[in-house]
């Protein structure tokens, strides 16, 4: 399953979702490839690596997967006392990713490259940049499901609406992408703020069951970032780890295996 986390708004939790979900799926026993397609390279850092042009090399220089793929250390995501059963790989990113759109013109090139991994990895998880580019189109055409992490404020809603509109009109309708909007994930939800409660109710009314259970605010995510780890390793016995595990389990049940069962 190829999963993309996108929202045309920065700071909404795309990286947090992408890295923790990829790590959770690997923990369960799946072979997961995390692709850092954001020029900021934060998924790369959170996976314990230095920023590097892996994704650029793959897309522009025609590098082999074996040349650009890193195996993520279990230390980054292992729950103490619970051995990781799968494998997590990373294709790192850096500022060079921002120029991929200028140097490639084949919207389907990424999809074709990823087809090489069929049967080798179970899941591919994309972290994307907030600014919509040609590269987003290539990812939307290569991916199967889209998740939109969203903070509960108006600017985030604007980014979310733009993302949905663009994927539906440009890539699903015109290009025939099989991409499906699997979920909108309200991020850093704090129910003590009435404004967040009202905004959550608004998107639930507008998008119904597409809106998943919010991922509540937790300082543990910041702590994990500081330690370049996922919450599973940094804070395994906290509500943050509990909430992320629930998210991972739901993606596994409703999206990955749910699709296979339909």
């Amino acid at each position: 399953m190829r999963i993309v986390f996108a929202n045309e708004k920065g700071g909404c939790g795309k990286t947090t979702c992408a890295v923790n979900v990829a790590a959770g799926l690997a923990h369960i026993g799946r072979k997961v490839l995390l692709v850092d397609a954001d020029a900021q390279g934060h998924s790369t850092i959170l996976s314990g690596f230095q920023k590097a042009p892996g994704f650029y090399d793959l897309m522009v220089r025609g590098a082999q997967f074996s040349q650009v793929t890193r195996l993520v250390s279990h230390e980054v995501y292992e729950i103490p006392g619970n051995q990781v059963k799968g494998e997590l790989y990373l294709i790192p990113g850096n500022i060079e990713s921002s120029t991929i759109s200028e140097k490639t013109s084949d919207l389907f090139a990424l999809r074709d490259r990823l087809d090489e991994l069929d049967g080798i990895v179970d899941d591919i998880v994309f972290d994307t940049s907030p600014t919509s580019t040609f590269l987003h189109g290539a990812i939307y055409l290569a991916a199967h499901v889209l998740f939109i992490p969203v903070m509960l404020d108006s600017f985030n809603f604007d980014g979310m609406v733009e993302t949905i509109r663009r994927t539906e009109q440009t890539y699903i309708q015109r290009q025939g992408s099989g991409l499906r909007l699997a979920g909108i994930i309200p991020m850093a939800y704090n129910k003590r703020f009435k404004e967040e409660e009202y905004n959550l109710a608004d998107i639930q009314e507008a998008y119904g069951e597409t809106v998943w259970e919010p991922l509540p605010y937790s300082a543990m995510f910041r702590r994990a970032i500081r330690q370049s780890q996922t919450v599973f390793a940094t804070a395994p016995n906290t509500k943050a780890a509990h909430d992320v595990t629930k998210l991972v389990a739901r993606i596994l049940v409703e999206v990955i295996h749910g699709k296979a069962a339909r």
């Binding site: 059963k85 605010y217 629930k246 389990a249």
Partner: protein
């Protein structure tokens, strides 16, 4: 680490002389605002207070005259001090009243129209967090989180809070990372998922729908604790 303290404003565990000194500090602050302001302050049964051109009520401030900019600034610095130290002052004041005259927070609540629970909390925190370990840069709420701990732990957590610049909610999360028994089962649930995933890979196409139902049940069971 900055540890400038509000000792001069804390009344806890101090003698009357020191309390008087503390009050005079506040008084000096107020007199500095506006000569004679204290004399003109009118206290109406704890419901409102007038200092110079400002009338302070329980839920708002009104201007009754034409204050100068200097008066506005001066009163503001005092208000900020009160906002930061206010809960401490009331807590310490309640404890002094109880120690010296047996006047309980319930008496005060009934007499002055405040919620007993709120006053009880303030008095509890002031009684249990010694003035010598309180940290100016942290709020009363930070101290409230550690009030029930032994003093050695109180010092440890307050130090961590100031060193890491924790908000109250961040501090709460670090102190109490496992607020419900459900959370301790994260690793167990992950283990269940691992086992299910192993079995799923061996299940034939025809049985997968049934298997997903089992997975959903596992998820539901876990979510409901």
């Amino acid at each position: 680490m900055a540890r400038q303290r509000v000792n001069s404003l804390s009344l806890a565990q101090r003698g009357q002389d020191e309390s008087a000194g503390t009050l005079s500090t506040v008084q000096k602050e107020l007199e500095h605002l506006d000569a004679g302001a204290i004399r003109r302050a009118v206290i109406e049964h704890g419901q409102s207070m007038v200092i110079g051109a400002f009338q302070f009520g329980r839920s708002g401030l009104q201007v009754t005259g034409a204050p100068s900019r200097e008066q506005w600034e001066s009163i503001g610095s005092t208000l900020l001090l009160m906002a930061h130290g206010g809960q401490w002052w009331i807590g310490d004041w309640l404890n002094i009243g109880e120690r010296q005259w047996g006047k309980t927070y319930q008496d005060v609540a009934a007499q002055m129209g405040y919620k007993a629970r709120t006053l009880k909390d303030w008095a509890y925190v002031a009684r249990n967090v010694d003035s010598s370990i309180r940290i100016d840069e942290l709020t009363f709420g930070h101290h409230q989180l550690i009030a029930s701990m032994p003093q050695r732990d109180q010092v440890k957590w307050l130090r961590k809070a100031i060193e890491n610049d924790w908000s109250i909610s961040q501090m709460r999360e670090f102190i109490n990372p496992n607020p419900t028994p459900l959370l301790s089962s994260v690793d167990r649930f992950m283990g269940d998922l691992q086992a299910m995933e192993r079995r799923y890979s061996k299940v034939g196409e025809g049985d997968r729908q049934q298997f997903v139902i089992l997975l959903r049940q596992l998820l539901d069971r876990w979510e409901s604790g």
